[in-house]
Symmetry: C2
Subunit: 240 residues, 2 copies
């Protein structure tokens, strides 16, 4: 969940979503959804309620500072049916860091949904706040990245393998062969991506799987089936 009016109104480009996509892929985490939503308690709550039920983990980005437009904690609390409360451990961290510059507004950063846990992983200066399966990350890209990297070891999976073929045949002409391959190797995700912007017109076919023998068998079969108009490609280069 990318939370922030500034993204939806075009004031800042979201860097955290694309960065997280690449980290998830490298870590073998199946990313199921990205939602970009405004700084509204009700909207955040609705999205948290859906995501917390549907997915193993949800990461939020943004809306956790001391100003009036930072309403992520309240929104998450609403979505989980919990009150917001001040966490003494977070308050102590803030008081130790800010000393005489502490204000009531700064202390808002010690508020979290009731029952939240704190993870003190790695070198991070401020602990990671987690409530149920919602991991609440800051929106500032440098902080978002440092925090995520500190906790990433908790979410490891098996990365997918990827292979691709590039053909100059029209998508509608190769669709039947792709469908046959997909039916035969259901454990391989086969995607077909036409590129109209460049000449010659090409279709990039990308195979993704955690089952390497199936991936290679499917790749061989498709390389034969599409052999007429395949372009030479460095074998096995990942997509992008």
């Amino acid at each position: 969940m990318i939370i922030g009016d500034e993204i939806l109104t075009g004031k800042f480009r979201d860097d955290n979503g694309p960065w997280l996509i690449d980290r998830c892929r490298a870590l073998g985490i199946d990313l199921r959804r990205i939602s970009v939503i405004p700084d509204e308690v009700e909207t955040i709550g609705e999205e948290v309620a859906v995501c917390s039920r549907r997915f193993d983990w949800t990461f939020t980005s943004g809306g956790v500072g001391p100003t009036h437009d930072d309403v992520t904690m309240e929104g998450i609390a609403r979505g989980l049916g919990r009150p917001v409360q001040r966490l003494p451990e977070l308050e102590a961290v803030l008081r130790a860091r800010l000393v005489e510059r502490i204000t009531e507004d700064a202390l808002r950063m010690a508020d979290a949904p009731a029952g939240a846990s704190l993870w003190w992983d790695g070198e991070i200066a401020f602990p990671q706040v987690v409530v149920e399966n919602i991991v609440i990350l800051p929106g500032v890209p440098a902080l978002f990245r440092a925090r995520f990297l500190a906790i990433a070891h908790r979410f490891g999976g098996t990365p997918s393998l990827s292979r691709r073929l590039v053909t100059t045949e029209a998508e509608s002409l190769i669709a039947g062969r792709l469908r046959l391959a997909q039916a035969r190797w259901p454990q391989v995700a086969i995607g077909s991506y036409p590129r109209y912007e460049q000449r010659p017109y090409t279709v990039i076919v990308i195979l993704d799987s955690r089952d390497e023998p199936a991936l290679l068998a499917c790749l061989d079969w498709l390389r034969d089936a599409l052999s007429g108009q395949l372009l030479d490609e460095p074998d096995g280069s990942p997509g992008r």
Copy 2:
């Protein structure tokens, strides 16, 4: 709705969401949400059901080609409780364009949720398919952009005005003044964005409104209230 496994798995970067953000801002369209979801009929249907109820218009990107991984039409039909049917007018367009290269797979691109309308706006070679308040756009960026620009005249609004201030004061110290300004000018959206990556540490305060007198009054008040540590900025430069 950005529909595509290839985005969530990091094979291709989504360009359509960021591009549409900028167009929406320029056109005065309030963008309320971006969802990036996989090529799954059930998931697409659930998201369409939510968006079609909640928003005036929903634009979808991707999943409308002839291959097995193109399931957007079926997903939208599911979400709206309609069957998929072949549209004779679209079939005629495809047959005229492909002539003897027509295949049953190519004709899948003539399928749409029952009751869909076709918009023949501008110079586009293929009409825009719309069902209820769902506008179904192709995922290939060049086509997505050409199609959206052809139909954009239907969605005009009043663009927001934006002004910004940059201060070296800490966010938690200015939070009180921002809150006062927000309470006094509720028709101005005030956002506060700390930039930790650069030295000096700065906070960018962005004011957004369609009410120019309120925007300028709020800007003047905040410029006074924050005068201690404001950085010189070209007055009224938009954000980003």
